[in-house]
């Protein structure tokens, strides 16, 4: 939160913050959602993460394997569906971070590429 100077002004019970947009400065309060927001980070194309919580049912690849785009990597069971996770890129797998039977949360990195 660079350049947002938290500044307590003599306004009772409120937490005013100084904001500068396009050279205009204003004092305001922030919402909880805004305070808790995550900074944007570039998604790593070399990682395949789970899009939904579920259970790993099958893993078709291991470290060192060469795969083509759209090749099957593993099966993630979620919402009563055997979701086939395919490779987003053509490349060599460096790590497989899940094993059959493992229950995983959303956003867990399952496979990494070199």
């Amino acid at each position: 939160m660079k350049n947002i100077k938290e500044e307590k002004l003599p306004v009772e019970k409120s937490e005013l913050v100084r904001f500068t947009v396009n050279g205009m400065t204003m004092s305001t309060t922030l919402t909880k959602k805004f305070r808790n927001r995550r900074m944007w980070t570039r998604p790593d194309e070399k990682q395949v993460s789970s899009f939904i919580p579920g259970t790993i049912r099958e893993v078709f690849v291991k470290a060192g394997d060469q795969v083509q785009e759209n090749d099957r990597l593993l099966i993630l069971e979620a919402m009563k569906m055997m979701n086939v996770i395919v490779s987003p890129i053509t490349g060599t797998i460096s790590k497989v971070l899940v094993a059959p039977g493992e229950k995983i949360p959303k956003g867990k990195v399952m496979v990494e590429f070199e």
């Binding site: 660079k2 009563k80 979701n83």
Partner: protein, 514 residues
């Protein structure tokens, strides 16, 4: 003789106007990988069909030395023409003239062509390539934007409005495309955002490139602001031509009917849906197996892929398809897929396009992030859109139709005209596992071997309820059909309901969930 002199003068003036921002600016535009505004119009419209208006428009700004500046056509080209024979109104911002910036005259020209489109009831196409408001014209340029947004809104549901983003479209300017029906973007060329990377960096300290913030891919895959993604301007124009050929040109008429054509031979419908309800498949294969020439024109192909929407023809008649996609996220409804489907349903309803729904979904996506993102109000949009739609509504339940998802996906209860189910359909209040655990909780917990009892009860429930026959016995579905019968039955139902007349209670307008 005297006349020849006048004609000569006109020719010279035209030539001058056609130069736009001059050779240097044109070279720059081409170096950026972009086509020139007039070339874009000519590539999109039928050959020789473009008729330009307000070619000699000039701004009247006087502040900041503007009086000395000549801006050809004030940075925008407007006119009429045809696309595959269909008359359209079009404007194209010319980035070579003062960066395509929008001043008062520029906006007046756009407003003029918008009013033509609304009066003549023909589609409006806007090619956006502009640095934004012309700062030197101050509040006049804001007024211009406002007038455009107002007309976008008033024309909504009357004529199709198409926005093509072929350059920057930033700040307030983005709201015109956002108010239109279809937004087209092109790789590396389109940029859309409310505040640019610079402002984001100084205010929030976040560093992001223009492409990562508002490039073509971002709006096609993440934000959902764009409906069509192309890798070149020419491909983009082909997509627009295809769209224009499929949709009715205003809300009084139906889409042009073409010669009926059967689906392709190699699209066999029987082998697509796996027997095991836990196995995914691509629902687009089902659509291709029923539509004419197996030609399905998908919209929002890269966003909220757990639902598939698009146009296809059934015996020459354009229909809108709404389908759960088991291949992605198990085909669940969530915030984005609800928004995607609901708006499309409303588009079809506004423009007299019958809606065909293919159902196969486990329900709404569970999760804190979904609940906190407002899946209740977003999910409600689908119910609202289906209920309100008075066009023919035909529904086929392919496999799973559970709980709220069953109701939402064009069910009889939301006034589908015909509902059919394949023998593989499972229509019930919830999945066998969940239902058995609740109904037989006591038996399971008190059994000697609870796990064995649980499995038995799940199996019992599955056999009794995970089929289409309970719903069929109550008339909630009209018949259980073989997959091979799907196209013929849909064609029959479409013919029957094509001219259906339904009236809703008189009101100014509803208050849909947003």
């Amino acid at each position: 003789m005297a006349l020849a002199k006048h004609i000569e003068e006109l020719k010279k003036k035209r030539e001058e106007a056609r130069k736009g921002g001059g050779d240097k600016a044109a070279e720059k535009q081409v170096a950026m990988g972009k086509m020139l505004a007039r070339a874009r119009i000519n590539a999109l419209l039928d050959d020789q069909s473009f008729q330009e208006y307000d070619m000699f428009a000039q701004h009247e700004a006087r502040d900041f030395d503007m009086a000395k500046k000549v801006l050809q056509g004030d940075g925008v080209i407007i006119g009429t023409g045809t696309i595959v024979g269909q008359p359209v109104c079009i404007f194209a911002q010319d980035f070579t003239v003062a960066g395509g910036s929008l001043g008062l005259m520029h906006s007046r020209k756009i407003v003029k062509i918008m009013e033509h489109a609304l009066k003549l009831k023909i589609p409006l196409i806007g090619i956006n390539d502009s640095g934004g408001a012309r700062i030197q014209e101050g509040v006049n340029s804001l007024a211009g934007y406002g007038e455009i947004f107002f007309r976008n809104t008033i024309s909504s549901g009357v004529i199709p409005q198409i926005s093509v983003i072929l350059g920057p479209c930033a700040g307030g300017a983005v709201y015109s495309p956002a108010l239109t029906d279809f937004v087209f973007v092109v790789e590396n060329i389109s940029k859309m955002f409310i505040t640019g990377p610079e402002v984001i960096k100084t205010v929030l300290g976040e560093e992001i490139s223009m492409e990562d913030l508002g490039g073509a891919r971002v709006h096609s895959e993440i934000s959902g602001n764009a409906h069509f993604y192309a890798s070149s301007e020419i491909e983009c124009f082909d997509q627009i031509k295809k769209l224009i050929s499929l949709i009715p040109h205003n809300n009084d008429v139906k889409a042009k009917k073409l010669e009926p054509k059967p689906p392709c031979h190699d699209c066999q419908i029987g082998d697509i849906v796996p027997d095991d309800p836990a196995q995914p498949y691509d629902v687009r294969d089902v659509v291709k197996a029923v539509v004419d020439s197996s030609d399905f024109f998908e919209i929002h192909e890269h966003w909220a892929k757990n639902i598939v929407i698009g146009f296809g023809r059934m015996n020459g008649i354009t229909c809108g398809f709404v389908c759960n996609q088991p291949l992605v996220l198990a085909g669940v409804l969530d915030v984005d897929s609800s928004d995607k489907a609901a708006r499309f349903i409303r588009y079809c309803d506004a423009f007299n396009i019958p809606i065909i729904t293919f159902v196969d979904l486990p329900g709404y996506l569970p999760g804190t992030d979904q609940e906190h993102a407002g899946v209740i109000r977003h999910g409600a949009k689908i119910l609202y859109a289906y209920s309100e739609a008075t066009v023919p509504k035909l529904t086929i339940i392919l496999r799973k139709a559970y709980g709220g998802g069953y109701i939402a996906m064009g069910s009889r209860h939301l006034r589908a005209d015909f509902v059919f189910a394949w023998p593989t359909a499972e229509i019930a209040v919830m999945g066998p596992e969940g239902a058995a655990n609740i109904i037989f909780r006591k038996e399971i917990s008190e059994a000697e071997n609870p796990e064995e009892m649980r499995l038995r009860k799940v199996q019992e429930y599955k056999e009794k309820f995970a089929n289409p026959y309970v719903a069929a016995s109550k008339g909630y579905i009209d018949s259980v059909i073989e997959p091979e019968e799907t196209r013929d039955i849909l064609l029959h139902a479409l013919e029957l309901s094509f001219d259906k007349a339904v009236s809703l209670p008189n009101k100014k307008h509803g208050v849909p969930p947003f």
